[in-house]
Amino acid sequence: MNAGLKKLCFWAIATLTCLTVITHCSLSHSFAQHGLTSLGPPPSVSGDRAIEPIPESPVLNSDKVALGKQLFAEPKLSHDNSISCLSCHNLSQGGMDGRQVAKGINGALGNVNVPTVFNSALHFKQFWDGRADTLEEQIDDPVQDPREMGSTWNEVVRKLKADPQYLKQFKNIYQEGVTSDNIKNAIATFELSLNTPNSRFDRFLNGDESALSFEEKEGYKRFQSYGCVSCHQGILLGGNLFQKIGIFGNYMTDRGNITEADYGRFNVTKNEEDKFTFKVPSLRNVELTSPYFHDGSAQTLEKAVIVMMKYQLGREASQEDIDLIIKFLTTLTAQPQGVSP
């Protein structure tokens, strides 16, 4: 009797145990979530209009944004602690540095003009040649490029871990603490906060006729009728397609001194048709981001408009029209939310 009871208990416990194990196993299986920040136009865009306003920034984890902001200004990300993201992406200067090409550690020069960090999350790809699909991928390059920050992630992580303040901050947000992935995630999250909605033009698009002056409205008309809008369309007025520079005439030959960087998209795809092809830059805040083009060759907006008219649109414009278009372009300027001008 006693032995029987014992056996029964044994079986019951064994069965319960195995059921528990099974349940546990089945629950523990699920897809690991991608930590990558999705890029590109938000789902709200309809494509009904050639240009649509930038939607309001998404609600973000404020701790991550704060940490990302701090890291964005952190020179420890560079090998010699001399350069931070902010060095090239000056938030009070339209999110770039105003130089023709980037300047890295030890005064090393980059090979292309620095694109603005503003609205970067809304671009379909990162860099002039679109070699990065996500913000996180983008961050890898400048940190590890010897002409830029010249560091490695191991070095960066080690430096940050030496700082108890960072250790604490990371621990509060991320289970794994200071890792390269978490650093990138924090910076990318901060960058998501750098969209610039509510420009005057956006207000105009949203129905506020008074947002633009008569001349600016005229400029917008010219912008459309001259065909600029065939490439500079979408919420960013660009940033969503690649285009060859020099449809009419050969821009590169005319400019001369062709470098590897001038091959643009070709460097990524090795496709002959992609030679001299670049991501069409967004015209948002274009007023603030001179010099222009991948090579930073156009110091002024006027020069840039003229060059574009010639090589991309295959026509000439009157000075009056050029002025009007420039006036329109200034209405695209806005400050990112939470960043003082």
């Binding site: 009797m1 006693n2 032995a3 029987g4 009871l5 056996k7 029964l8 044994f10 079986w11 064994a14 069965t15 195995c18 059921l19 194990v21 099974i22 196993c25 089945s26 299986h29 699920s30 897809f31 991608h34 999705s38 890029l39 590109g40 136009p41 938000p42 789902p43 865009v45 309809s46 494509g47 009904d48 209009r49 050639a50 240009i51 649509e52 379909f124 699909d133 009728s225 065909g227 065939s230 490439c231 369309q233 979408g234 919420i235 969503n240 397609l241 690649f242 285009q243 060859k244 449809i247 009419f248 795809t269 496709n271 048709e273 092809t277 991309q312 649109l313 295959g314 026509r315």
Partner: protein, 805 residues
């Protein structure tokens, strides 16, 4: 048994493991995951369609910006990444297969996206030119062709053709447009229009090709293929899982059945065992529930209660048990039930007259009652009680009888003593009366002898000498008898005086000289110097010595007789005073005696052998008288003898005899021993004997052999001294007053400290078995054979030496 247990455990674990595996296999499919993955594939199909839609919309100006297309492309890329991990529940092969499909799809998607990028670029270029061309033609017409109507028409037609070309899917208009451009070129500068037209002509076919390529791209089909493959794989997995589920169910049923079977078997066995035990025991067993209802009775109970067991079950206990066994003891049962304790009592069955011991054991709910038939025990108890009573009455009767006979015995003893004294007195008187006429006979025979010599009647002299000698012998006999009688009648008195020992000895030696010579013996005197005087009864000392010497000469032929005399000081254990003793040792090389003879040698009217008297003559009273005289003088005679070798008689007498007849030697308190330690002695011997002379003898002989001797005169003293001095040996007399030797021996052996001391019992009682049983080491019979004693001591001494090393 252990091995069987091991096998059981292994089997159990194996069964559970199998069940576990089956269960795991049967629930591997996660429906949520399946839904997710399936939804992903669906979304990709939809997204792919949306992309195609967007491309067409863009191509035909139905979408104003690329944003929706871009967003869908990014979405599809994201979905593609998520599809890379097919659900875990598919088996590895299938997952590999799915992964390779996904990888191929990824490749296709990349191709498609690259095409889309080209499409977007080309479309932008074409759109720009198509937008601009009408304006350009218009400007041309206004500025340059306003004068030529035909050219104006050509320009119009060209614009018309280009726009038519842009809309159609045909390339048939191309040569016409080229021709029209050529015509325009001849008249005016239409470089810009030419460039844009050229762009249109070049880009449009490209764009059409790209559009077709996107729309017809195999990626859509590939996604469909993935969907189908996944569906197939999922169905297979589901079928497999459901198979395993069925197997698991079946296995669970088998397991459950087995467990149930085992439990039932076990219970059956346990019940069977219990029933067997209960039915086989001789006691009656009754199981009760908490309401005193009988739930079970064993056959024995049915027999005891003279009822059928079927009848008993489910009846009230008190209704079934006769009141003498049940109701009258209800309080006991109740107590047992209330306090959950075992109760036990005896009761008699009124009908069968059998006695039962009733024991109650409280159970889990209810109670167990055992009835043990104790009738036989009861009977035995009664019998025993009766026997005891009988015995007691007998014992008391016997005790009374005994007391009576003891009284009678005492009376008899008193009478006998009186008679004996009367006899001795009579003998003493008679002897005296006998001596008077005998003296006359001896006296007159001497006178007659002298007279006969004087009157020269020599022929009478030998006869007269015979008369005198016979008279003297008779006188000697009468004197001996008289002495003995006096001693026994308590009339012998000591006449103490100081006398010189050596003179006495010489006188004695001279006296026995004729007898020595008669048997051709040699006599030697070994007298210690400065013996001085002795204060004692000289006549009796002389008589003792003469007796011993005459014995020695009598039983020795052509041998050596030695008389050695020594003086020794011995501390008296009672008084602590030093006492001087004279030892007279008479040693012969005669016929000797056997142990039996030695025992009888001092008894009156006996010689060693009845034949001895005939052969050697004598009254046989000499040694008895000597013994008694020496006792009177406070000394003793001891004998050592060996048959055929010779005898040694030792007469020991105190140098200063006292006249007190009562030997006040029983002092309850023994003084401490103050014998100076004898350096290099061979060990300490505690001599226990109530007889002082025996103690002295042993002291002397053992001291001579190098032992240190301590004396105790009774059992109590022996135990006290043994504890004090821890002797190496104890010689123990058995016949002692108050506490006999056996008791002393027992007491010694019970004391762990003293138990190890070898004890040599010395007694006249021949009972060696008892002695050895009580723990005596050796057993000697009095008179002591000194050589034997020495040998024994030597033996144990040797043992002790070995023990010490």
């Amino acid at each position: 048994m252990k091995r069987k247990r091991m096998i059981e455990i292994v089997a159990a674990i194996g069964a559970i493991a199998l069940f576990l595996v089956l269960i795991l296999q049967s629930i591997t499919i996660d429906p949520k995951l399946h839904e997710e993955y399936k939804a992903l594939i669906d979304r990709q199909i939809q997204t792919d369609l949306k992309i195609n839609q967007s491309v067409l919309k863009i191509r035909y100006n139905l979408l104003a910006s690329y944003d929706p297309l871009v967003r869908d492309v990014i979405e599809e890329q994201k979905i593609q990444r998520e599809l890379e991990n097919p659900p875990f529940y598919l088996n590895i092969e299938v997952r590999k297969q799915l992964k390779s499909i996904v990888a191929a799809n990824n490749e296709l998607l990349h191709q498609k996206i690259a095409t889309i990028e080209q499409f977007k670029s080309k479309n932008a270029v074409l759109k720009n030119s198509l937008n601009y061309l009408p304006k350009l033609v218009n400007e041309l017409k206004i500025e340059k062709l306003k004068h030529s109507h035909s050219l104006n028409n050509i320009a119009n037609e060209m614009l018309h053709d280009v726009l038519l070309y842009a809309l159609s899917t045909e390339n048939t208009l191309t040569p016409q447009i080229k021709d029209e451009i050529a015509q325009l070129k001849t008249i005016t500068d239409v470089k810009a229009a030419t460039a844009h037209t050229k762009i249109i002509l070049e880009t449009k076919p490209d764009l059409d090709r790209l559009t077709r390529s996107i729309i017809e791209h195999p990626s859509s089909g590939a996604i469909q293929k993935l969907a189908t493959s996944y569906e197939t794989a999922f169905n297979a997995a589901q079928n497999q899982a459901s198979l395993f589920r069925q197997l698991a169910n079946a296995w669970l049923m088998i397991l459950g059945g087995s467990v149930a079977y085992l439990i039932i078997q076990n219970q059956k066995r346990a019940k069977y065992r219990t029933t067997n035990i209960l039915e086989s025991i001789k006691d009656a067993f009754i199981a009760l529930d908490s309401d005193w209802q009988i739930t079970y009775v064993n056959p024995q109970a049915a027999v005891f209660l003279e009822q059928d067991s079927q009848f008993l079950v489910s009846r009230d206990l008190f209704a079934v048990l006769p009141p003498e066994m049940g109701a009258e003891h209800r309080k006991r049962y109740q107590t047992a039930a209330d306090r959950k304790e075992v109760q036990s009592f005896e009761a008699q069955h009124p009908a069968t007259k059998r006695w039962f011991e009733i024991r109650t054991y409280p159970g889990m709910n209810g109670m167990l009652v055992f009835l043990q038939d104790i009738t036989d025990r009861k009977l035995a108890e009664c019998q025993l009680r009766r026997l005891n009573q009988e015995l007691e009455s007998r014992v008391s009767a016997r005790t009374a009888q005994l007391a009576q006979s003891m009284e009678a015995a005492e009376e008899g003893r008193v009478k006998a003593e009186e008679a004996n004294r009367a006899k001795s007195e009579f003998l003493a008187n008679m002897s005296h009366e006998l001596r008077t006429p005998l003296n006359a006979i001896i006296g007159y025979s001497e006178i007659l002898e002298e007279d006969a010599a004087e009157i020269s009647q020599e022929q009478f002299i030998p006869d007269l000498q015979k008369i005198r000698n016979s008279g003297k012998h008779l006188l000697g006999l009468i004197n001996d008898v008289l002495d003995l009688s006096k001693i026994e009648a308590g009339q012998m008195e000591l006449h103490l005086e100081s006398f010189d020992v050596v003179s006495l000895l010489k006188e004695v030696a001279e006296t026995v000289q004729p007898m020595v010579k008669a048997n051709e013996n040699q006599i030697g005197l070994e007298i210690a110097p400065s013996l001085g005087t002795m204060y004692s009864d000289a006549t009796k000392v002389r008589q003792c010595l003469l007796n011993l010497l005459s014995n020695a000469t009598k039983f020795t032929q052509k041998g050596q007789i030695t008389l050695s005399v020594e003086q020794e000081s011995i501390v008296d254990i009672q008084t602590g005073e030093s006492q001087s003793w004279i030892w007279f040792k008479i040693q012969d090389t005669g016929i000797g005696m056997s142990a039996e003879q030695i025992q009888k040698v001092f008894q009156a009217f006996t010689q060693a052998d009845s034949s001895t008297t005939r052969k050697y003559g004598g009254t046989g009273l000499g040694l008895a008288i000597t013994k008694r005289f020496s006792s009177l003088m406070g000394g003793d005679v001891l004998v050592e003898s060996k048959l055929g070798v010779g005898s040694t008689f030792t007469l020991m007498l105190p140098q200063q005899a006292s006249n007190s007849k009562t030997k006040s030697q029983k002092s309850p308190h023994s003084s401490s021993i103050s014998i100076p330690p004898n350096d290099g002695h061979r060990g300490t011997v505690l001599v226990v004997d109530d007889d002082r002379s025996a103690r002295l003898f042993l002291r002397r002989t053992l001291s001579n052999r190098g032992y240190h001797v301590v004396e105790a005169e009774d059992g109590a003293e022996c135990l006290k001294l043994a504890a004090e001095i821890s002797p190496d040996f104890i010689t123990l007399d058995i016949q002692m007053p108050n506490m006999d030797g056996w008791s002393v021996l027992t007491a010694l052996k019970q004391n762990p400290v003293l138990a190890g001391i070898p004890v040599i019992t010395i007694t006249v009682v021949e009972d060696s078995e008892l002695g050895l049983a009580l723990g005596a080491t050796e057993y000697l019979v009095k008179p002591i054979n000194i050589e034997r004693l020495a040998a024994i001591l030597n033996k144990y001494e040797a043992h002790k030496v070995i023990d010490r090393t």
